[in-house]
């Protein structure tokens, strides 16, 4: 996809040589390295993707290039970083400031907090020009407006005078890109710039970066954890693990012919869009949702009444042993839907029948015995467990609520831990002693304790590293096979849904736009929006598990 034939210079724009970054600790302590002995090059016009899981040190590497490491926490302890031949690590602070935005610049992960909330965005972009160029005010404004147009923002005059809070996440990220590229730096560092954006917005931003890169022959250092994105945009890939560089190669080399075992493991864990061969579920319906609505009415003293239809007339059926994926971008209502079904919030109207029992209108007391039949696993494993309570007590809590005697509950808890692949001594430990993936397993064990008929996984794997994600998905699949549990799998990522779902429901703005068998939805989508989502899924042409491109899709 990316033509690297534009390379003409002999010297790479960026050369990282044996870079090591250590934690700033007490003097006398042996230095603990966060990054060790990293080396790679990037040439003009080339995109190098640095991939790794959390803790791999990829972000630290990118911050080191810009000289943005917090001096009281991290410092480069060895190596050189040559930007056009100049060692950035040996620069004076003044020189470093000169280089920033003019020779190298950076785009960060969180667009919502990347901009100063009390200044207009025009002023903020102008700051770059004021600091580095001698242009007069009128010339600067013209240049900024041009730049705003080149990042495809509409109505540039109005945007120039807007404050960040008046813009969406995608728009804000475009502003950050403006600030980064307005002075044509040779190197653009992008640290997970699209991770916090919707998949359709992500596609636009990635396309934008590529377009700008092509027109100015910029070298791009792109940090990401998402192999799908890598497959789309990388010329070359560098794989990092625990601070070390595992492997570097061209995109095809890494994705199709990885040499190292770690790389093989990582690539094969990446969810692709190929639906797993899976029969449609045939069990009896266990959950029937009809016409579910959730409306929020905002009434201000002086504001006009505003109604938000979070969930609008949603109907679907969940059968025993079935995994239904509810897929949608942010604001689609999928989480609200899940919460209505679990009665964590009350639906405005509609019917939810669990094995014939109506639960949408049940009072809290009526609903209480039904609670144990619907359990939820939440998104953030770091906040889903009370940090002050031992794991064993957390797992046992549900059972105790429903009258199970203490020792029986504890025995079952140990069993459950075994099912999710954790040792019995986990019972006496605290959550902070476990990794994200392990904590999520604990949450699954806790949810299963009550032998629910329905397990709702609300973005349960979204916060996990890709290898861990694969394991947890396998676990969910395993549980489903062993018990009669039906799973409602909420996710924003079609690729993840493709891994385990029997059927898929696509939501947009509170409504269902398409529903059906997973294979059908993924390969023969009927609705325009579904097609859009599929089209925007990064890496959709790659079958990662099998280290090859997908056969031409029928869509």
């Amino acid at each position: 996809m990316n033509d690297s034939t534009m390379n003409d210079s002999t010297m790479p724009v960026l050369q990282v040589q044996e870079l090591s970054v250590a934690l700033v600790g007490a003097p006398g302590d042996a230095p603990r390295h966060v990054v060790e002995g990293i080396s790679f090059d990037i040439r003009a016009g080339e995109t190098l993707c640095v991939v790794g899981e959390s803790g791999s040190g990829k972000s630290v590497t990118s911050f080191s290039v810009m000289g943005l490491l917090a001096p009281d926490a991290l410092r480069p302890s060895a190596g050189r970083i040559l930007l056009d031949g100049e060692d950035v690590l040996a620069c004076t602070p003044e020189r470093l400031r000169e280089l920033r935005a003019t020779r190298m610049s950076m785009v960060f992960q969180e667009p919502m907090t990347a901009l100063n909330p009390v200044r207009t965005v025009g002023w903020q972009i102008d700051e770059v020009l004021r600091a580095h160029s001698g242009m007069d005010a009128a010339a600067r404004k013209r240049k900024i407006l041009d730049m705003l147009e080149s990042v495809r923002l509409p109505d540039v005059e109005r945007i120039y005078q807007s404050y960040p809070h008046q813009l969406s996440g995608g728009q804000r990220q475009r502003i950050v890109i403006c600030m980064a590229l307005i002075l044509n730096p040779k190197l653009l560092i992008a640290d997970e710039p699209t991770t916090a954006l919707d998949v359709t917005t992500q596609k636009q931003i990635l396309a934008l970066i590529q377009e700008l890169q092509r027109s100015h022959n910029t070298a791009v250092l792109f940090i990401t954890h998402d192999f799908g994105v890598v497959a789309e945009i990388a010329d070359r890939i560098a794989v990092m693990n625990r601070g070390k560089l595992v492997e570097v190669g061209t995109r095809d080399e890494i994705l199709a012919r990885p040499k190292e075992a770690y790389t093989r493991m990582l690539v094969s864990s990446v969810p692709g869009l190929a639906p797993a061969a899976r029969q449609a579920a045939e069990g009896d319906p266990v959950l029937v949702v009809k016409g579910l609505q959730k409306t929020y009415a905002e009434r201000g003293l002086f504001k006009a009444k505003r109604t938000v239809h979070a969930v609008r007339d949603v109907s679907f059926t969940l059968r025993k042993k079935e995994i239904v994926g509810i897929v949608g971008e942010s604001g689609s209502g999928k989480s609200t839907l899940a919460r209505c079904i679990a009665r964590l919030i009350d639906p405005s109207s509609g019917s939810v029948r669990l094995d014939g029992t109506e639960i949408a209108t049940a009072t809290k007391r009526e609903f209480h015995p039904v609670r144990k039949r619907i359990q939820v696993v939440f998104q953030d494993p770091y906040r889903s467990l009370n940090a002050r309570i031992r794991v064993g007590d957390s797992i046992v809590e549900g059972m105790r609520n429903f009258g199970v005697p203490e020792d029986e509950a504890r025995a079952r808890a140990v069993e459950l831990l075994d099912i999710v692949g954790l040792e019995a001594d986990t019972m006496d430990r605290y959550p902070h002693q476990f990794s994200g993936g392990q904590r999520q397993r604990i949450c699954i064990a806790r949810a299963l304790a009550l032998r629910p008929d329905i397990l709702i996984a609300d973005e349960a794997v979204s916060a996990l590293d890709v290898s861990v994600q694969a394991q947890v998905l396998e676990l969910i699949e395993d549980i489903r096979a062993r018990t009669d549990t039906a799973v409602l799998f909420i996710t924003h990522d079609l690729r993840v849904a493709a891994q385990i779902c029997n059927s898929i429901v696509v939501m947009k703005s509170g409504q269902i736009v398409e529903a059906g068998d997973a294979a059908a939805v993924l390969t023969r989508p009927q609705d325009g929006y579904t097609r859009q989502l599929l089209d925007a899924a990064p890496g959709r042409h790659w079958d990662f598990k099998r280290f090859r491109r997908m056969e031409a899709a029928a869509s």
């Binding site: 917090a70 609670r371 309570i389």
Partner: protein, 298 residues
């Protein structure tokens, strides 16, 4: 996806993936020398106050007109006041009162504050009512409210304590309410709800324990502020009844003779200042220890 990456650049430093256990951080912060000094000072004052009667001091109440307004001497380390009473003895006995008021106010403010704060934080309907009332109480400047309350109920140790506690407790309610509001949205609370945990158990097990540490910190600041308030009120003549040798009263009594014997005001004042200082420093240290994120910034 690691959330700790964000804190690497930009000045906040790495937040460790494994949270440090509060105890070791607390011990470490308390081991710096200014804090140790504060603790030591406080310990001395508390001990002196508790054992006031055993220290062989002169009777703080005994009037001795022959000895009036004598300066600092070997016999009277702080001199004597207008009635010939030994000032050092009065100051140490006064410490008792101040410390009792400090501790009493803290407890009197913290406990109702916690209860109301939890209710306001958890039940939206109650929230509106409770917070309006709290706002109302907080709108009256605290000294004035305390003075008015004492004026209405008459002065005694208990009424002064309650009068000082009343303006303090809305702040506690606000603190607890804020904490509960943010904790309520945490996934682990939602998880507990979906596990069928009854509300009362939910509050006690999942919400309240997280309020304890900030409350203790707030409590120490209330302690210090209460001692100051009592002193101020007694100094103005609207606090403790004159027969109590509270620090405020001792200072008030020294007012008239300030030009002749300034130490009658300054020495008890110094004592008061040092005690309040120690408590405040302790509060600071605890806050830094219990909230490592804040420690780097404050």
């Amino acid at each position: 996806m690691s959330t700790s990456i964000h804190s690497i650049a930009g000045g906040a430093g790495i937040t460790p993936a494994i949270r440090k256990r509060p105890r070791s951080a607390l011990v470490r912060t308390l081991s710096t020398w200014p804090v140790m000094a504060a603790l030591a000072m406080l310990a001395v004052i508390v001990l002196a106050a508790m054992s006031a009667n055993l220290l062989g001091l002169a009777d703080p109440m005994s009037i001795n007109p022959m000895e009036r307004l004598k300066g600092i001497s070997a016999e009277h380390w702080f001199g004597t006041d207008a009635y010939g009473r030994d000032v050092l003895s009065r100051v140490i006995h006064g410490a008792r009162i101040s410390l009792m008021i400090g501790a009493g106010t803290a407890i009197a403010a913290l406990i109702p504050g916690l209860v109301l704060g939890v209710i306001a934080g958890y039940f939206r309907a109650a929230d509106m009512v409770i917070m309006r009332i709290m706002d109302g109480i907080m709108s009256v400047p605290s000294i004035l409210l305390a003075i008015a309350l004492v004026a209405v109920t008459g002065a005694s140790l208990l009424t002064v304590l309650i009068a000082i506690a009343v303006p303090e407790f809305p702040r506690v309610v606000r603190l607890v309410r804020g904490l509960i509001l943010s904790l309520r949205d945490e996934p682990y609370v939602e998880a507990a709800i979906s596990l069928g945990t009854p509300t009362r158990v939910l509050m006690m097990r999942h919400l309240v324990p997280n309020t304890v540490a900030p409350l203790i910190v707030q409590g120490t600041f209330i302690f210090a502020s209460a001692m100051l308030s009592e002193a101020i009120m007694s100094f103005l003549g609207v606090g403790m009844p004159p027969e109590f040798p509270s620090w405020g009263n001792v200072i008030a009594e020294g007012r008239m003779y300030f030009q002749v014997r300034p130490e009658l005001i300054l020495l008890p004042g110094l004592f008061l200042a040092l005690t309040v200082l120690s408590v405040n420093m302790l509060g600071d240290a605890m806050r830094d220890a219990l909230d490592p994120k804040m420690a780097r910034r404050v």
